[in-house]
């Protein structure tokens, strides 16, 4: 079984400050990792994904994440946030072994609030 823990339920930050949203996972098999963003009353939008290769992954809107296999982490970072980054962010893990029918396990979400 897989699990995902997002260590912070809420992260307040001032505009133009850096931010890190933390995600740890547990899995007995190789994984794919994802970060999604959800704006109020909307569906989830993919920010970035790690499937294989370079452990530093760059996504949309200036976000990046680093896969750390030894620490089983996939933290999301942005060097300078904007008001428009205010949203809820979800970390998700999938089974790279191809036996789970593409199912993902999601964390509980982190609400990022950017203050002016």
């Amino acid at each position: 079984a897989q699990s995902v823990t997002q260590l912070d339920s809420q992260v307040p930050v001032f505009e133009e400050a850096p931010v890190e949203l933390r995600c740890n996972y547990s899995s007995s098999v190789s994984v794919y990792l994802f970060w999604y963003v959800q704006y109020p009353n909307q569906g989830l939008q993919l920010l970035l994904k790690y499937l294989s290769g370079s452990t530093l992954v760059k996504g949309i809107n200036g976000f990046e994440a680093e896969f750390n296999k030894s620490q089983t982490s996939f933290h999301l970072r942005k060097p300078s946030v904007h008001i428009s980054d205010t949203a809820e962010y979800f970390c998700a893990v999938g089974n790279a072994g191809g036996t789970s029918y593409g199912k993902l396990t999601f964390g509980q979400g982190t609400i990022l609030t950017v203050h002016p």
Partner: protein, 112 residues
């Protein structure tokens, strides 16, 4: 390009009434399809997934059912809604077993 639609966008239903939510995907064939529920302040709970027409797998026993009558159509149903069925329902698809899931805009269901 591929797009995913959900309707209705919002729905208010009395306890005990039936439910039918629809999800359709355009621009792809034989997608894997998923239904999630997102309750207030909680993460996403996978309800059902389907890897083909008529093939439905349930993740959580509950008051809901799902059907896939056509390749790109996924329906979530209930015969009698409960208060606890309130939430934000999201449909998602992926093109293969190990690729990204893409989400629809969601349906906000309020059961009164």
């Amino acid at each position: 390009s591929q797009t995913i639609h959900q309707w209705p966008a919002t729905l208010v239903q009395p306890v005990g009434s039936p439910l039918s939510l629809e999800c359709t995907v355009e621009g792809t064939s034989n997608p894997n399809l998923y239904w999630y529920r997102q309750a207030a302040g909680r993460g996403l709970q996978l309800l059902f997934y389907s890897v083909g027409i008529g093939q439905i797998s349930s993740e959580v026993p509950q008051n809901l059912s799902a059907s896939r009558p056509q390749d790109r159509q996924f329906i979530l149903s209930s015969k009698k809604l409960l208060l606890s069925d309130s939430g934000f329902y999201l449909c998602a698809w992926n093109p293969g077993f190990t690729d990204t899931q893409y989400f629809g805009p969601g349906t906000r269901l309020t059961v009164l």
